[in-house]
Amino acid sequence: MKLRIYLTFDEATVREPIIWKLAKEFDVITNIRTAEVKDHMGLVGLELEGESDVVEASVKWLESQGVHVEPIEQNVIEG
């Protein structure tokens, strides 16, 4: 499966090579589609491709590293 997510890094995580570690740890293809990095925070649009359980495990792992993960559709509009 393919999953499209936004990762938000805070001051503690923004300097860590987390996406590199992720690819070492799990059998997933990581494809960065957009990224904005400032001193205190970073935002990365990432595509993850692999077996569904592996993709799900990678998301859990990212969260355990202190990265905020949300589906890109999170940015939907309205009320």
């Binding site: 939907v76 509009i77 009320g79």
Partner: protein
């Protein structure tokens, strides 16, 4: 019937174009997609006379709405009154003030009927049988009602603690209504997963680019009702910030099509302080929107992580406008002011709009001697809790003239 001038869906970030399909993010950069048009095709054809000759609904501007042919959902929606607010002009000390009164929008009393009729007409075109939405309340009611009328199944997702009027105002239409334990932003998150899994037309997810265009009709109407001109200043309530950007787009389109002159309209955004990520960004002079945990009685505007915040911020700055926010007490006071001065019972979002306008008039951000339009977008009957404790209760007497005489005398009636 004139041909459609819709060209494509285009990424707002990288400019990549996509065919007209139920899709909403750019494959390349995840940027939001927007409908773009070939305006040249309308040259000389889309005239004031043509528009004026059509029925008074939002569809008199159908060339600029992204559907093929005639609308199949909400054909009667839109074309609400633009009211000259003479009493408020005196109270606020301004020369020319108007209220665009979408609190009486057909059929569910909020401007959401505009966006929903476009979204559902498009959903029908795409062949969907079930429609859905994540909502802070008004959208849920509008999707439910318009879906019922169009014979579509609907699912609406709302925060569990919404006002009774909003819950009832959706449930009555026989929709499948789901209350989520959490804030709108949690509803939003769940819906993004549901949308990925179920093959429904989610009005604010996969048909969102079409949906959002419906808001432009509010702007078109204002300009036509002002006698084919744009106001100098327009104040818009903001949740996701979408309406704010679309009002601006509507003005730019009318200018491009030669229907009005460029008036240098400034766009102003209004929020409740308890959920003011966009107004804060404008006041702080940044374009970074910091998500907040929403806490305000203006529940329809309580989106802590506004998807169009960045674009609304840009529209406000580029147009020379400003943004403001007010406390919940000020929201209630403004709801009462609007009702007592103009006879319009608006919901909390209307209080936000008027209250912020008042604050900006007092601070000098809104000039007193130029035309101002306030966008009042929802109806007070749906948010009665907000004012229930703040209005005069009836004085109860026997059906006796004597008892009434006593009251009348106390009131100083001669």
């Amino acid at each position: 019937m004139s041909e459609s001038i819709v060209r494509a869906l285009k990424c707002r970030e990288c400019g990549q174009e996509y065919p007209i399909e139920p899709t909403h993010v750019c494959e390349f950069c995840f940027g939001p997609l927007e409908v773009v048009y070939d305006y040249e095709k309308l040259e000389g054809k889309f005239t004031r006379e043509l528009i004026e000759s059509r029925p008074q609904t939002m569809w008199r501007y159908k060339e600029l709405l992204p559907i093929d042919g005639e609308p199949t959902v909400g054909a009667q929606n839109g074309f609400t009154p633009l009211v000259r607010a003479k009493n408020l002009e005196k109270i606020l000390g301004v020369k020319e003030l108007y209220i665009k009164n979408d609190s009486v929008c057909y059929p569910t009393l909020s401007f959401k009927d505009r966006v929903v009729s476009v979204a559902l007409s498009k959903a029908v075109e795409f062949g969907f049988k079930t429609v859905a939405c994540a909502s802070t309340g008004n959208l849920a009611g509008s999707v439910a009602a318009n879906a019922a009328a169009a014979g579509l199944e609907s699912y609406v997702f709302i925060p569990h603690d919404l006002e009774q009027g909003k819950v009832l105002g959706a449930g009555i239409f026989g929709t499948k209504i789901i209350g989520i334990k959490g804030k709108y932003d949690d509803v939003n998150r769940l819906c993004s997963e549901v949308a990925g899994k179920y093959g429904w037309a989610f009005v604010n997810v996969n048909v969102r680019p079409f949906y959002a265009e419906g808001s432009k009709s509010l702007g078109y109407e204002v300009m036509e009702q002002l006698g084919w001109k744009a106001p100098k200043h327009v104040v818009v309530p903001m949740a996701s910030g979408s309406l704010c950007t679309k009002v601006d787009k509507s003005i730019k389109e009318f200018i491009k099509l030669g229907l009005i002159e460029d008036n240098g309209t400034a766009v102003y955004g209004a929020q409740a302080t308890g959920c003011s990520p966009i107004s804060k960004s404008v006041k702080d002079g940044t374009d970074m929107i910091h998500p907040v945990h929403a806490d305000t009685i203006a529940k329809s505007l309580a989106i802590g992580n506004p998807a169009d915040g960045f674009y609304a911020n840009r529209v406000i700055k580029e147009s020379g406008g400003w943004a403001e926010d007010i406390s919940d007490d000020e929201v209630v006071a403004a709801m009462k002011l609007l009702a007592e001065a103009e006879g319009i019972f608006a919901e909390t979002a209307g209080g936000v709009t008027l209250g912020c306008a008042k604050k900006m008039i007092e601070s000098g951000k809104l000039p007193r001697d130029e035309s101002i339009v306030l966008c009042i977008t929802g109806n007070g009957l749906k948010t009665q809790e907000a004012v229930a404790d703040h209005i005069t209760k009836p004085r109860v007497i026997e059906a006796s003239l004597k008892e009434f005489d006593v009251l009348a005398e106390a009131d100083g009636v001669k």
